[in-house]
């Protein structure tokens, strides 16, 4: 799935800073990168640490982080948004919906649409 997201986002003009295979790895990598991503695509069901826990910890490190929560589990939506996720997309979603949502998030941050991380 990561390979797909990479293809999709790179094709749309975004730069992928990094990827992680579990929530703990996501937090560690976020912390270690000096240049923080403009948007983080966060899944929920991951080994070691799930998306909710990873989101909380990333927001503790940097509360301006924009996290787009994606999950097949719609029951998580309310919780994800309540802890600070910027947006929630329920799987399966179309490519255009993903890109539309990323654009909306970037507009919120007043960031230009091109060359995003």
């Amino acid at each position: 799935m990561q390979r797909l997201y990479r293809l999709v986002l790179e094709n749309a003009g975004f730069q992928i800073i990094d990827t992680a295979t579990n929530g703990a790895e996501a937090v560690n990598k976020f912390e270690s990168h000096s240049i923080k991503p403009d948007v983080i695509l966060m899944d929920h069901r991951m080994p070691v640490k799930n998306g909710i826990e990873a989101t909380k910890e990333i927001l503790e490190i940097s509360n301006h982080s924009k996290i787009l929560f994606v999950s097949a589990d719609n029951s998580i939506r309310k919780l994800a948004l309540s802890i600070g996720a910027t947006s929630f997309l329920e799987k399966p979603f179309e490519l255009k919906d993903l890109l539309k949502e990323i654009e909306r998030i970037l507009k919120l941050s007043n960031l230009p649409l091109s060359s995003h991380n």
Binding site: R3, L7, P47, A72, P92, F93, L95
Partner: protein, 500 residues
Amino acid sequence: MNLEDSLEKSNSSEGWSKRVFKSIPNPIFIYKKLEDDLILIDYNKAAEDMTEGKIKNIIGVKAKDFHKENPEILEDLNRCIGDKVKISRELKYRLKTTDKEKILNVIYISIPPDIVLVHTEDIGEKRKIEEDLKKSEREKSIIFENIHEHVVFQDINHRVIWCNKAACESVNSSLEQLIGRTCFEIWQNQDVVCEKCPVDIALKTGRQERGEAITPDGRVWNIRGNPVRNNEGNIVGAVELTTEITEQKRAEQKLKESEVKYREAYNRSDLYKDLFTHDINNILQNILTSVDLSKLYSSNMENKKELKEIWNLISEQIIRGKKLVLNVQKLSEVEEVETPIESTEALSILSKAIEFVKESFPYKVINIEKESPESHYLVNANELLINIFENILFNGIKHNTHNIIDIKIKISKERKYQTNYIKFEFLDNGVGIHDSMKAEIFSRKFHEYKKDTKPSGIGLGLLLINRILNSYNGEIRVEDRVEGDYSKGSNFIILIPEAI
């Protein structure tokens, strides 16, 4: 002597004795022999009252005439006067004077030379009371002797005073064999009072107490102890009422076990549903994203390579979906049907699994190498063994980001807990499993199939492997392919009991 003479004599010469005679509370009749018969010559006040005053009309009447319908009275009168004997009899008699029926205790006393004193006592009321009491006793006895409940009346030292038939039969004894023995000796085979005995507590508290007990034969009893007080209010003993509840307890236990089984089955089904939903949604997401991407790429022929990759991805997702459905079917099979375990040659099954997995991923470069000192291994398994191998291999391929997927399968023997196992090690170069997950994957929480405790990242495939191995009394654990570095891949180690 004629009648008048007799009367005069008794009236004049024995004044005080006559007063005594007259005042005796029980009816008395005096008969005198006259020729070959007896005639009534006197009576007392009580006799007058009993006959409502009409007795005076009987004076001088011959007994043969008056009692002709009561030959037994005539016989007693004649025998008394003739043999000079005292006769005592209970008699049901309808008074001719009042037409009232009486139950009398009659005593005929001979007073020589020619007098018979007939003393009567009305015992009708007493008889009625006795009859009522007997009837009540009979009814109580019927009740006590026919109820299934044990009724044991014991003294303050728990010695049996009385018990009903059910209590006697419960220990195959007669009442006589039980009286005087302690209840704890009879029913518990011990020489001290049972702990928390409700009867013992009732004797102390003076209130009804309840409890349960198990006798040495395994039967379960509900016991009620009721203190018994005398007229002064002192506790003099207790009545123990005992009902057997063994079957009820067994049913309760079965119900509890059923509830647990039902709850487990419900949790399992809930978990399967949850996992299936999640996995299917991810598969659909991958297909949808791939389709969207391919639409983007298809307009530019330079993207042929990317297009091919996307189509391969789609195919893989379909296969993944197929495998998911198959796993759910197999899980249901394992839950519902007990497939017999038999001696199964494992290497041939493994080869079939390898072939199937490679065919399922035609676009991936997969190297699967087998390392086995022997050419065949017999294990205690069944037709589901192939699902174990397929799922392990699938996981090794699914969670692998390398261009070339390497899986090495090492087969050997291991002896553990006095059992011989065939050991299968699947070493892959996939993404690996973090240390924190290794213990959880096959932990008890996971076995309890509770959705909330399910470790993230566990799919139906591993669930299925676990269920099948449990049925074989086999084992599974996971280690790092390279010790200390989980990111270099995993080593799934499976132990299956060797078939003898």
